[in-house]
């Protein structure tokens, strides 16, 4: 084996056994296998599309997963159980006449024939195009933009937010519109990229869609998680969104099981057994997203924490609000316990450090569940961890221009974060922008039975229970948040987009001013 890519974390490689380290490395960089046995010809090798992710100022992770039959029920996408070299190339132009980087990775059955090469050595703040090839077959073309150089003045940065992609509840019209946004530098998937539930006549609201009985049961095995990712990623609009811009992703609960907490199942499965399910669920997450190598789990433990530096404009911190949290409170005294944690001690220190050392204009955090105080019984959100919320809000206030991005609730919500609402001295601490689901819960309605719980607070400035996405535009002067909805998702994917609300947050104010 040749030396692994210099981007591979030595810590990670040293912590793994030899076989695993080799698999891991070759999935990123395998220059010596380009002439390995060619794969027997198969049509549609790139049936799950392409993606890029975790951009830096000099590059990004590229991703594809070979799957000529994406819905093959063994989870291997119709691929033979052998490895295949995959070439990639990056160009400054869409016609690939100015190729600036190329390489080879090995698609291996251990990783469901996914590859995760990280391209490096590119210019900052520059648009690039990429594609893969296997033999004569070429993938669709994707594009990404490298981040601005560290500390560089940056005029603008645009972000799309997507969460809660219950494929069976509706078509991905929201993805279609987000992929067509004029400005889109980064997509953040805020959690529930897949759902684990069985798909039956009772919940298959995506009209015109059919699934085989293999999809009818709750997923538990690796082949089932792989199949569910394949089903979700077979959607052309999701593929188009991934091809449009680089992405980052955090998880919430449904990537494993509804409402699981740390090592604990929500359905009574003993922890020593549930660990095996977590391990395969986290593995499938790695295999199917354009994530960096640190997200490859070791057994039931994984590290999806990541930070992005957008010149001097924004510091983005991606959090894990599922793996390290304390158990749900057993009573009120437990809920308000000072030492309760949502992030775990190590992650909390890391987030605090990033906030305290930031020199960026905007301090952006992304998490799986809502931070703003809503009702004390919403214990799956930060409402179940009020002391931890106080600690985080204090740090957000100290950092200034703090923005929390979340999903989970299947509603668009905009909230001003105020210290007095969370047990801190009065004053602004930031804003929270919650993106609604892309499909979960079907068409929805602007208001619903949950609306009063949210709008009872004067700091909740917007609520919309329909499907959609959020588009953010950061400039040194202000943040503009556009809450887009699509009126329907169940019948087809043709719904137009409608603006539900647009807010301006002038730098230094922590306010949401509706346009």
């Amino acid at each position: 084996m040749s030396s692994p890519s210099p981007t591979l974390s030595r810590r990670r490689l040293l912590g793994l056994s030899g076989a695993s380290a080799a698999v891991l490395a070759l999935g990123v960089n395998a220059p010596d296998v380009a002439s390995a046995d060619p794969l027997p010809h198969r049509e549609n090798l790139f049936g799950l599309g392409v993606a890029s992710g975790y951009p830096r100022e000099d590059g990004a992770v590229l991703w594809t997963r070979l799957a000529p039959e994406p819905l093959a029920e063994d989870g291997h996408g119709g691929m033979p159980l052998r490895s295949a070299p995959v070439k990639w190339e990056v160009s400054e132009t869409r016609d690939f006449r100015r190729i600036v980087k190329r390489g080879t990775a090995l698609a291996q059955p251990e990783l469901a024939h996914s590859v995760h090469p990280r391209v490096e050595g590119l210019k900052a703040a520059t648009d690039y195009f990429y594609r893969f090839s296997v033999g004569p077959q070429k993938s669709p073309v994707g594009r990404f933009r490298t981040l601005p150089a560290a500390g560089a003045a940056t005029e603008r940065f645009t972000v799309g937010m997507i969460s809660c992609q219950a494929w069976y509840h509706g078509h991905f019209a929201a993805h279609r519109h987000l992929a067509q946004e004029e400005d889109l530098d980064l997509t953040i998937f805020l959690g529930d990229y897949i759902y684990e539930y069985g798909i039956t006549a009772a919940n298959l609201w995506r009209q015109g869609a059919e699934v085989t009985p293999a999809h009818a049961v709750e997923i538990e095995t690796l082949e089932q998680y792989r199949l569910r990712y394949a089903l979700t990623k077979s959607d052309p609009h999701l593929q188009a969104l991934h091809a449009r811009a680089a992405a980052v992703a955090i998880w919430d609960d449904h990537e494993v099981q509804n409402d699981y907490v740390g090592a604990a199942s929500s359905t009574g499965i003993p922890a020593e057994l549930f660990a095996h399910r977590i391990a395969v669920a986290y593995r499938a997450f790695y295999e199917n997203l354009p994530v960096d190598i640190d997200a490859l789990p070791q057994g039931p433990e994984s590290d999806i924490l990541a930070g992005l530096e957008v010149g001097s404009l924004a510091r983005i911190t991606l959090m894990d609000t599922r793996q390290f949290r304390d158990a749900p409170p057993v009573d009120e005294a437990d809920r308000v316990r000072e030492d309760r944690t949502m992030l775990g001690a190590a992650q909390e220190r890391w987030v605090t450090e990033r906030l305290r050392t930031s020199q960026s204009r905007w301090n952006v955090l992304a998490g799986g569940v809502v931070l703003a105080p809503i009702t004390d019984d919403r214990t799956d959100q930060w409402d179940g961890y009020p002391a931890a919320r106080r600690r985080l809000l204090a740090e957000m206030r100290r950092a200034g221009n703090a923005v929390m991005l979340t999903g989970d609730i299947h509603k668009h919500v905009a909230a001003e974060l105020r210290g007095e609402a969370a047990g801190l001295p009065a004053g602004p601490a930031g804003v929270e922008l919650v993106t609604t689901s892309a499909a979960s819960d079907g068409d929805g309605a602007k208001t619903d039975k949950y609306t009063p719980d949210w709008v009872q607070h004067d700091y909740v400035r917007h609520y919309d229970g329909r499907r959609g996405y959020l588009h953010l535009r950061f400039t040194p002067e202000q943040l503009t948040s556009s809450f887009w909805i699509v009126p329907w998702v169940e019948s087809d994917d043709t719904a137009p987009k409608e603006l539900s609300a647009r807010f301006t947050t002038p730098a230094g104010t922590s306010r949401l001013i509706e346009d």
Partner: protein, 282 residues
């Protein structure tokens, strides 16, 4: 290519009514195990090798429950095969015999029964998901059912709520099952209680016959899914079935009307599969 998974060892079986629980020693994390395949072979033909016709389930856990076995008791030779992330299969484990216990529903003479012992609650009132109707239909938290007069679909709700159920008012629900008998049973009588699921709270179900306390049943912690799903026999169902069969005290049942009471004293609901009274044949 990574190595093949190791051969599964440490397979152990525990028989219960209509099911056999299997456990084995979990394999290491490397290579990652996609799933374990569980094969059930006849106990005859000891040298037969497992093929896909013997496959009874796949599981990511080092544990599997083979449900739906003959209530009269059934035995199999079980073999486990591990499948790795790369789709490679390990060698079959050594075969281990497991045998389910006979149920009184097969060995006894039926005196009275509500529902079918079939792993489903579908024939019961409000099944599979209209649990919200129960507190409306039974505002006093008391459910009456008269054998021979009432029918399961009209008078026996599929859930018996408990004090852990906020949706049902956190009340202690009680059912009164009136069972008329022409004559007192001559032999011992067993009560069979089968559930398709319970809640993550577990709980305690108190049983009384004609005013006499006869048993407090400790409820297993379940999947909390039987309130929305009624068929635990579907492949891959996550419902956690449980069953309890025990003898009533001698003379507990008499000629004429008998009242069997169930009180969910602690914890969350039970989702009924079926229940019945059975007189032993000898």
């Amino acid at each position: 290519m990574s190595k093949k998974p190791q051969t599964v060892t440490g397979v152990a079986t525990t028989g219960a009514v209509s099911r056999v629980e299997l456990t084995w020693t979990p394999l290491p994390w490397e290579p990652l195990i996609d799933h374990y395949r569980v094969y059930a072979l006849p106990t005859t033909g000891r040298h037969a090798k497992p093929d896909e016709t013997h496959l009874v389930g796949k599981t990511v856990y080092p544990r599997f429950v083979h449900h739906g076995l003959d209530p009269a008791g059934e035995a199999f030779r079980y073999v486990i095969v591990a499948v790795s992330d790369a789709g490679r299969r390990g060698r079959p484990s050594s075969a281990v015999v497991g045998e389910s216990q006979a149920s009184v529903t097969a060995t006894g003479r039926e005196l009275a029964r509500i529902g079918e012992f079939d792993g489903k609650s579908l024939e019961l009132r409000f099944s599979p998901a209209e649990y919200g109707q129960i507190p409306k239909a039974y505002p006093t938290a008391v459910i009456d059912y008269v054998q021979g007069v009432d029918t399961p679909g009209e008078a026996w709700p599929y859930l018996l709520p408990g004090p852990g159920d906020a949706w049902a008012g956190r009340k202690t629900y009680r059912t009164r099952w009136t069972v008329p008998l022409d004559a007192a049973p001559q032999r011992d009588v067993d009560l069979a209680l089968w559930f398709v699921d319970t809640t993550r709270l577990g709980g305690r179900l108190d049983v009384a016959v004609n005013g006499q306390d006869v048993r407090s049943v400790e409820l297993a912690k379940g999947a909390t899914r039987g309130s929305r799903e009624g068929d635990a026999t579907l492949p891959g169902s996550t419902l956690v079935r449980s069953g309890h069969e025990f003898a009533l005290p001698a003379g507990a049942l008499t000629a004429g009307e008998n009242v069997v009471e169930f009180t969910l004293a602690e914890g969350g609901w039970v989702a009924w599969d079926a229940l019945g009274l059975y007189e032993r044949r000898s």
